[in-house]
């Protein structure tokens, strides 16, 4: 009787653990940077297959060394994303605060998002157009890697 009980408990524990692993392996995460690059392989050197914007939710299907293989519905895309681009916390809705908790969130500075920038620009008579222009100055991962190779520099990924 005791043996049967132990076996049953073991099966339940095993099933629970398997369910946990399955669920963990397919967890939902959120893009926490402005634009996450989706790569064909788990490497920054790899060709980009698209991008996912801030706040989008993705389903994690697999993981290797600092990379997640994900599936996203909006936009529709699958591929590898650097784990540092994602967060388990839902980043959406942080900029929208109700009057009831506005002060509390303000104490942590968490309301400092895009929603107040235009008001800030008006009150302080500040022009953001030059900053927007500067932010268009960018180089692709592929260009950086070529630059690294040509200059005999290091890439953080060792072959």
């Amino acid at each position: 009787m005791k043996r049967i009980m132990i076996k049953k408990v073991f099966i339940v524990v095993l099933l629970s653990f398997s369910t946990f692993l399955f669920a963990a392996g397919k967890s939902t995460m959120y893009v926490k940077i402005k634009t996450a690059q989706v790569k064909e392989k788990s490497s920054k050197k790899s060709k980009s297959s698209g991008t996912i914007p801030y706040g989008a939710s993705v389903t994690v299907l697999n993981s290797i060394d600092g990379w997640y293989y994900i599936s996203c519905d909006k936009p529709k895309i699958v591929g590898w994303v650097a784990s540092s681009s994602l967060s388990r916390k839902n980043v959406n809705g942080r900029g929208k605060v109700s009057s009831a908790n506005a002060k509390e969130l303000a104490l942590a500075g968490k309301g400092l998002t895009a929603s107040i920038e235009s008001t800030y620009a008006d009150t302080e008579n500040v022009d953001f157009s030059e900053v927007n222009k500067i932010e268009t100055i960018s180089v692709s991962d592929e260009e950086v890697y070529q630059f690294i190779i040509n200059g005999e520099l290091n890439s953080e990924e060792q072959e």
């Binding site: 506005a102 107040i116 932010e135 100055i137 040509n150």
Partner: protein
């Protein structure tokens, strides 16, 4: 008249209490009475708890506000797109090898259109380097030293730390903020915008700008940034000894000058001494900087 009296009182009290009493206590002991005095007092109280847990998104928007103020003060040079692209490639190569968490919108390097020696960075990843400072470099590795130093300030979160430090003893920052906060008070703020957030953004921007343009980071933070820059350079494959080349040229060009650079940074001599000491602990095994000289000569204006 009352406003002038109150600001004077704040300044006087802050002078008296700088080392042993916070500004918060000074404000409370001055017993604010008018609506303006109460508003100012409330912002300082709010600010004393603010900025404790900023996300990279928050830091980005603070950085944008700082960058906007910088670009309102300094003209940006777009006359050398090849050089600008080159600076951004060096910057990204260093960031790639830094192992640091990504910034919300990455890093962007722009050239300030001045022959003064100057460089600044915002917590949002905006890096500004002057034409004058670029001219103090004679190799890609020396140019990398300039960028690595600014990247180090960002990754060590020195400007965010400056905001947290300011609530303790920056009476000058608070007095400047007073006028700005009154402007916010008079503005008809949209319903979905929190006045406290707006005031927090104003104070954060003001403090960081004051640090970048007037007071500079502490000497300890400057030396910390130099030390980290050497490590970043080495990790990327840039010869960290090139930082000495850059500092030697800065020393030559700023000697005896009371330029903004000298007022916001430790003297080049002191930096050279500390960097030289740190270099003895580093073994560089990368390619000689000469392999990158041709492209430096092609890309530098």
């Amino acid at each position: 008249m009352k406003k002038i009296f109150f600001v004077s009182l704040v300044l006087s009290l802050s002078l008296l209490f700088t080392s042993c009493e916070t500004l918060l206590e000074a404000i409370e002991s001055s017993n604010p009475q008018t609506a303006e005095e109460l508003a100012f007092s409330n912002v300082i109280k709010t600010g004393s708890n603010a900025f404790e847990e900023l996300t990279i998104e928050n830091e980005y928007y603070i950085g944008r506000a700082v960058a906007a103020a910088i670009t309102n003060k300094y003209k940006i040079y777009y006359g050398a797109p090849k050089t600008t692209e080159y600076l951004n490639k060096i910057c990204n190569a260093i960031v790639l090898n830094s192992g640091a968490e990504p910034l919300f919108e990455g890093y962007h390097v722009a050239i300030m259109d001045t022959n003064d020696i100057n460089a600044m960075a915002t917590p949002g990843g905006h890096i500004f380097v002057s034409k004058g400072l670029i001219s103090c470099t004679d190799s890609e590795d020396a140019l990398a030293a300039v960028l690595a130093h600014e990247i180090a300030h960002i990754q060590l979160k020195h400007s965010i730390k400056a905001i947290k430090k300011s609530r303790r003893n920056s009476f000058i920052g608070s007095a400047i903020s007073f006028a700005g906060l009154m402007a916010i008070d008079a503005y008809d703020i949209p319903i979905d915008v929190s006045k406290e957030d707006l005031e927090s953004l104003y104070v954060a921007t003001d403090v960081i700008l004051g640090t970048l343009i007037n007071s500079g980071y502490s000497k300890a933070q400057e030396f910390e940034a130099d030390k980290k820059a050497l490590s970043l350079m080495n990790a990327t494959g840039y010869d960290p000894n090139a930082m000495l080349d850059m500092l030697d040229m800065v020393k030559e060009k700023t000697s005896g000058s009371k330029s903004g650079w000298n007022s916001t940074h430790p003297s080049p001599e002191k930096r050279i001494k500390k960097v030289s000491k740190q270099l003895k602990k580093i073994t560089f095994t990368g390619s000689d900087k000469s392999v990158r000289q041709e492209r430096f000569n092609k890309n530098k204006f």
